[in-house]
Subunit: 207 residues, 4 copies
Amino acid sequence: MMKVADKHDKIVRAAIRVFARNGFFNSRISEIAKEANVADGTIYLYFNNKYDILITIFEEEMGKIIANVKREMASLSDPCEKLHCFARMHLALMEEKRELAEVIQVELRQSSKFIKDYHNKKFVEYTNIIESILKDGQERGIFRKEIIPEIFKRAFFGALDEMSRFWVLSSQKKFGVKTAARQITNLFLQGSLTDKGRQHRSCCHIT
Amino acid sequence: MMKVADKHDKIVRAAIRVFARNGFFNSRISEIAKEANVADGTIYLYFNNKYDILITIFEEEMGKIIANVKREMASLSDPCEKLHCFARMHLALMEEKRELAEVIQVELRQSSKFIKDYHNKKFVEYTNIIESILKDGQERGIFRKEIIPEIFKRAFFGALDEMSRFWVLSSQKKFGVKTAARQITNLFLQGSLTDKGRQHRSCCHIT
Amino acid sequence: MMKVADKHDKIVRAAIRVFARNGFFNSRISEIAKEANVADGTIYLYFNNKYDILITIFEEEMGKIIANVKREMASLSDPCEKLHCFARMHLALMEEKRELAEVIQVELRQSSKFIKDYHNKKFVEYTNIIESILKDGQERGIFRKEIIPEIFKRAFFGALDEMSRFWVLSSQKKFGVKTAARQITNLFLQGSLTDKGRQHRSCCHIT
Amino acid sequence: MMKVADKHDKIVRAAIRVFARNGFFNSRISEIAKEANVADGTIYLYFNNKYDILITIFEEEMGKIIANVKREMASLSDPCEKLHCFARMHLALMEEKRELAEVIQVELRQSSKFIKDYHNKKFVEYTNIIESILKDGQERGIFRKEIIPEIFKRAFFGALDEMSRFWVLSSQKKFGVKTAARQITNLFLQGSLTDKGRQHRSCCHIT
DNA sequence: GATGAATGAGTCTTCATTCAT
DNA sequence: GATGAATGAAGACTCATTCAT
């Protein structure tokens, strides 16, 4: 006897594997069912349709990721460290939950196009963490005021995300996740710190 | 009487519009044909299959973009200016060829997954332009040597690309392409210049 | 509730009717589905593709025919009677399972051409029955030794088969299946019996 | 400058090769055109449609074959020799015009099915040659009267035709065309001669 | 007459979804 | 709740035939 939640999760986990393997459009419901050890029809007891599975992955898994990041970040006060923390955690996802990362990355891109009226709120919430860090730092005089948060948010996220796409696609790794996180954070910090922030930063250990 | 090349182009242009509208998988050959004022079968005189159209878009249009960027860049010698030029041109594409940009951006992400053995050479060539600029700058002592080119390339491209995704998806524009190009370039320059590079840069007018 | 085997058979029987009516290439899957009171897609639950249906007809139905012939023949010891039995049964198929006979006859001819690497083993097994009868008779001194079994087999089968083609195509029947079976068997027996065989034969009642 | 007849023939010859290679339904007009060194459209200047090419092959080539057989036969008076001559010529066709033989053999079988209202008159004329020989022999007391000409015609033709199918499909040849022609003719002669015919036959050299 | 680019009707096959058991 | 056989709509692709040049 299996609890309802278990079966829901089993399907989601199977779907992540299958979507990561083939992409959303080349994945078959029957393949997900097989991977989840469940009948095809059973999937429709837990999800409305194929799109719904993908959306659920976004919502639920992004939710967990956001919670994780926020929890970790709660113990930090320095915006520089927060940014570094975000970078590390984002890239680490590649190693820890590679398949999930692939799905979020690749399919998220097109989801807005093929799922009518679906605006990925969780994704916005996720990148807004970056925006908050910047704004906080700007208010504290650590980051330059002229930097437009909207731009910074996207640039930083984009940089990290393209980086992780690299890990997904290539098997060769000339450098580790930590190196990448450090370098990218550094690039953006150096690029956005005020003189005051720079002084402050000298005592940080991100370098 | 229409020359062969014209019909090929007519189909490619129609496909760009249709793919941009629906995404690759939700686009129908018949819709492309209609958009190109051509019979369904005619498409198969110029392309092997649906995938082939997408690949052709990548190859041909990326080819043109690369040529453009390289031509423009040829007149510049300063790595900082080159970087800025790249950023401007990449983002400008969004405004000039919005649909093409959408296709390249969204579908490129998944192409590696659904088209067996297709490694987008043109895309690699495109991002390698960034790598070259950095390396050149490093040799000239303008950029810090410890920055790993592979990381910089991806971070810079990712930042720009995520930025342009913003334009694609949202209709509201709080700031222009030029502002975004300037800010992002600045972020990365500030983040990677050496002291020498910084001095040099003071005479640049990117800010 | 219908057992799996039943649906398989329903489709095969429908396909036989449709193929007999139009020939393989002019038959539509949708027509078979309609004839079988089944959805188009259902056919693909039981068969890989259109060719597979045809091959299945050959394999399964020829299998039954061969079993029938062999069972009937088991009760006979005289090669002459066996030959006559074979002839009767082959021609009788035309009346009993006219459509199946048509399909086997007409499509079998081309199957080797359009189905790559398909060598109809069942067909070979079927005609080899004739060869065995002859060889047995030759060993027993009833049939002339100089008759090459390979030739006899094909000649006898060809004679019967062309005869049945006549029934398939023409609706007018100047003579019955039994007459034809008797005459053809007689022709071949008279043509191949030794003197000893002829004496023996005088007590047979094939004439 | 090529005469009209030449181009017609070029296409027919190309079609024979292509049909022999792939079968009628798996042959493409474009392949025939290519094989004939002619544009696709040109074919429609000489033939109404694809079926028309096949019918033309039957009519024209069978016409030539019939003429040949009748010419050869004109010099013979003995029905036994005539029959043997027919057998030899039919089987020889396999070696001399293998591709044509394949087309006639295989496609003829189904032609009645897919070409509406096409009754191959030439084919009937061809097999009627056999019928005439038998009837002539029966009148002259050489062949047994109880043999039904309709049956004999089909049996003899079928025996020969199945034999030649063997040559088409198998590359191995344990015996030659002449041996086969002799054995088959013998089988049928022995099977149908009267006592008078048998005496007469002793002076023939078919054995 | 000859060409071959263009046409578009036609069909096999797939697969998300349903529903009787 | 669970199953998986059945459905049938939908779409990529083919190819005989046409017709402007």
